[in-house]
Amino acid sequence: MNKILEIVLLAIGVAAIVVISYWLGQQAYSWMPPAATAEARHVDDLFSFLVALGVFVFLTVIGTIVYSIITCRTTKNDYTEGHPARGNGKLEFLWTAIPTVLVLWIAYQSYSIYQQLDIEGLGTIMDSSASLASQPALATTVIQPTSQPIEEIEVLAKQWVWTFRYPQKKIATGELHLPKNRRVRLVFQSEDVIHGFYVPEFRFKQDIIPNHTLDFTFTPLREGKYKLHDSQFSGTYFALMEADVYVDSPEAYSQWLKSTNGNTMKLNLAAAEHAQKPQQLIKSNWHAVEPYLPLVATEVKSKN
């Protein structure tokens, strides 16, 4: 009788854990910022899967521990043995095998989702001196979903400003505009230290390493205004290295390309703060690297 009750309880417990895990896995989509690229959806699927599995493992282990804490308490001076088992070959094999299978499953899922992304950071490392025009097309196995040409934009990072160059239009700006539903390739370059390109709604991140040109291809799907933040610590004003990112409808995008004259540099936050007296309560007056001055846009143009 007791045995049966135990089994029933166990079954109910496992069922509850499965349901909760599944449910939280579904909830997980809403814990992320809105998904603004085609790639982001895959990442969210992966995240949902990871959450579901993670919650399942967590609840199984913690459930057992909490159950034991509730039911196994003994009196102060009872030092007799609980259970004499020193181990159980079968059980130990099982709990080595099951996690192995689980982690391989997770790894496989991650792998296949990774394959669906065009994340090919280092696919084309090249010498930065090589001109962009003479570059071969991406050597890697990127599948082109549309026959549309890829929109190529250069992203330039330096302490602590972002500059975006649209090579075919020969303009440089301080805000990034992207066409919706078109494949975009960003080509990253840094002038001083390592920076990182990160827009949370895009779900990817790429370090920008001086003297290594790296690129990344993706497809924005959702119109709106987003914030780009530097994601690799780059010194004193790291927190201020941001830029606005717009995903525009194709019409609005070409409209913008036409109307912009390359002088739409945003206020350079780092330079602005550096010029001021520190506003904070506690001032160390330690040395800070000088930020680049706001005139980046013209600087870049003249170089070309």
């Binding site: 034991s68 020193r86 159980n88 996690p99 391989l104 992304l117 696919g123 990160y198 506690i282």
Partner: protein, 559 residues
């Protein structure tokens, strides 16, 4: 593991030397003195690192940068991370091991007592040296605890001696101390075990310390090498890592993480050992699957050498490397899982006692599972590229470094305090400490996970107001966590001065350390014991029946 009954009761009064507090301030070579020196010194560094983090949390309670200026903020988190890792987590567990290993394997001391003392004294000097950079006009190192070039070598012109120089020299210095420790521990464990103490009779703590120290010996020199080269770049103008001059900054990252990833297992393995000692003692069960837990320690050691690239998924790492290291990273979950399941099975159907050490151990295990699972999530490349360098990572590792390892150290101190001092800790205060810590820790570090998912990057002193809510929660939690330390300090100080006298084996635990006096005499055992039993033999009558002297002690500490 028990010992020949006629030598269990060491006549301690004759052997015990004069217990003079002054010896803790001297160049003493007794491993027990050194162990306590380590623990106290590193705990002071923990408080310092904690105060730094309090200022960090103070700054982050509002979105604007309004408490400390940018350079100072960068210095604060850099030194917070460095102090906590190199002066708290790693050396405090070295201290614990120093105290316990010779006792646990039935040796009179460590293999090289003098070397041991030298290794210890490097710690306070290295630490003070590191912290002294706060006084420099150019300030402390400000490039994070990774010290990635080229940011770290943007040498403030005109300051030949700067925070980064001091940072690098301290790291090299503390590394030398760790290598000395590693040599000492490995020699002690391999060569100084008492008769009958075979490998599979060693307590798990010994296994984990051995594994951790082997990792130190193998990987730490690579960090030293990297630090030397970075130092050359910084001070002599070479260009190993300077991209502008042909050097390779990513190479530094590889060298750094080749050590610093295994370092996280150096930190966590002894904590696993602590859990494996405490959980059987308070469940009255032998450790379930002892052998596989022991072997899993070595398994973790081996696998963890080959996973370091998971810190560099966004560093322009080629795809094949990302995939390869994703698989290896996830494999670490298997030997780690073996341990977690073994603890769980030990608790299952047990005779559970919830004394303070056990509370901390259980809390630590529970929060470790959260830390571990978030770690596995980070290992998934595509997901990591979203949360890399965000607060999700910060949340992940604080769940381990604070919520698991620091909890384990607290557990260990409560558990072995009677052995170390001959006095009992106050249970009530211990429980208050536990609950404040447990609640505070979750309040501080859980909100960091959603923050990271939402995209808040780390190492910023100002942030978008959309992140304010969780940050306020985390900051308030952190202040609570800071306060939670106070009952602990009060408890330790008061109990050390006039706590109830402890019996030799107040917890009725197995293990050689409990067979000698509390505190143990010089050279530990009147006669080197002979080991005849498997470890964690809680079914043996000498552990499962209570003798009267222990009863007395237990009554006094109000159990």
């Amino acid at each position: 593991m028990t010992i020949n009954p006629n030598i269990t009761s060491v006549s301690n009064s004759e052997v015990r030397q004069e217990l003079n507090w002054k010896r803790y301030f001297s160049f003493n070579t007794d491993h027990k003195v050194i162990g306590i020196q380590y623990l106290v010194t590193t705990f002071i560094f923990f408080l310092i690192g904690g105060v730094l983090s309090m200022i960090v949390r103070g700054e982050l309670i509002t979105p604007k940068s309004d408490l400390v200026d940018r350079t100072l903020y960068n210095g604060l988190f850099t030194l917070h991370g460095t102090v906590m890792i190199f002066l708290w987590i790693i050396p405090s567990q070295v201290g614990l091991a120093n105290y316990l290993i010779p006792l646990m394997i039935g040796a009179k001391d460590m293999a090289f007592p003098k070397l041991n003392a030298i290794a210890f004294w490097i710690i306070p000097f290295g630490g003070i040296f590191l912290l002294s950079s706060f006084l420099l006009p150019s300030g402390t190192a400000q490039a994070g605890w990774w010290s990635y070039p080229p940011v770290s070598i943007q040498n403030p012109s005109g300051y030949p001696i700067n925070g980064e120089t001091i940072w690098l020299l301290s790291i090299i210095l503390l590394g030398i101390s760790s290598i000395m420790g590693g040599v000492n521990f490995v020699t002690t464990i391999v060569r100084m075990r008492a008769p009958g103490m075979t490998a599979f009779r060693m307590p798990i703590f010994v296994w984990t310390v051995l594994s951790a120290q082997l990792l130190q010996l193998f990987c730490l020199p690579v960090l030293t090498g990297a630090a030397i080269m970075l130092f050359f770049d910084l001070s002599f103008g070479t260009n190993f890592f300077k991209p502008a001059l042909g050097g390779d900054p990513v190479l530094y990252q590889h060298l750094f993480w080749f050590y610093s990833h295994p370092a996280v297992y150096v930190m966590v393995l002894p904590a696993f050992g602590v859990f494996s000692e405490i959980i059987p003692a308070f469940t009255r069960n032998p450790l379930f699957g002892y052998r596989s837990v022991a072997v899993a320690s070595l398994g973790i050691t081996v696998v963890s050498i080959f996973v370091w690239v998971h810190h560099m998924f966004a560093s322009g790492t080629p795809s094949w490397m990302r995939i390869l290291f994703m698989f290896s990273t996830m494999l670490v979950g298997v030997p780690t899982g073996i341990k977690v399941f073994a603890w769980t099975a030990t608790i299952w159907k047990s005779k559970l006692h919830l004394d303070t050490p056990m509370l901390f151990a259980l809390g630590g295990v529970i929060m470790f599972v959260i830390g571990g699972i978030t770690g596995i999530m980070l290992g998934a490349v595509a997901f990591d590229l979203h949360v890399n360098n965000t607060y999700f990572v910060v949340g992940h590792f604080h769940y381990i470094v604070y919520n698991t390892i620091t909890m384990a150290i607290f557990a260990a101190i409560y558990f072995w305090f009677p052995k170390m001092t001959g006095r009992m800790c106050h249970e009530g205060w211990g429980k208050i400490h536990f609950w404040l810590t447990f609640i505070g820790a979750n309040l501080t570090f859980f909100p960091m996970l959603p923050l990271g998912l939402q995209g808040m990057v780390r190492r910023v002193s100002s942030y978008d107001p959309q992140y304010a809510g969780y940050n306020i929660l985390a900051s308030l939690g952190a202040f609570l966590l800071g306060m939670a330390t106070l009952p602990f300090i009060a408890n330790i100080v008061a109990s050390w001065l006039n706590g109830a006298r402890a019996a030799n084996n107040p917890w009725h635990a197995t293990g050689l350390e409990w067979t000698t006096a509390s505190p143990p005499p010089l050279e530990n055992f009147a006669k080197i014991p002979t080991v005849t039993l498997a470890p964690y033999s809680y079914g043996q009558p000498q552990y499962s029946t209570v003798d009267t002297s222990d009863e007395e002690a237990l009554r006094r500490h109000g159990n």
